[in-house]
Symmetry: C2
Subunit: 106 residues, 2 copies
């Protein structure tokens, strides 16, 4: 099921801009105090590093991702999610429409 | 005064992507039911049209804007805002760091 809205959140009004705008997010604090972000990745291929473990939940569009130490590109579309370990890396490849996501910290 | 956060909002998780990602926003519903959005414009010059009247409040960075029917570029920086009439057009020019904004519908 796709998460269309997040309610009762506090949103930071300054955007986080990565890779010259190929990835843009806004930081959120949820009603229960947990932090997350909503963002979007434009078509292209980008490499990210994690500090905390992350869960990437797709809210629109789709991507393919490849976790560090793996060769396989795996598709993740709206309503699906994938997990990335702490202190790791992953690649994301987007074709067609932008990939909108919710990034949860696990 | 700069608005750093908006509290008790509902955020749409699908990003609005304009001009191939040169402008990205997320739609919000405020606690009182009013709609607005938080977004960012990358360095460059873009032209926008309005349906409803808008108030563009800068939350980080700065831009210069030029309203339809005027020749003058006017600077708007963090904590400042400008108004655009309904059914009108305006240009925004960003240099240096991205221009983060809150778009209120007047």
């Amino acid at each position: 099921m796709t998460t269309l809205t997040l309610d009762n959140v506090s949103v930071s009004t300054k955007a986080n801009v990565y890779f010259d705008g190929k990835c843009v997010s806004h930081s959120l604090v949820l009603a229960d105090g947990r932090k997350c972000s909503v963002g979007v990745i434009m078509p292209g291929t980008l490499s990210f590093g994690t500090a905390a473990a992350e869960i990437m939940e797709c809210s629109s569009g789709a991507c393919e991702y490849r976790l560090a130490g793996t060769e396989e590109w795996v598709r993740s579309a709206a309503g699906e999610q994938f997990s990335v370990p702490a202190n790791s890396k992953f690649d994301i490849r987007v074709t067609g429409e932008p990939y909108s996501y919710i990034c949860h910290y696990a």
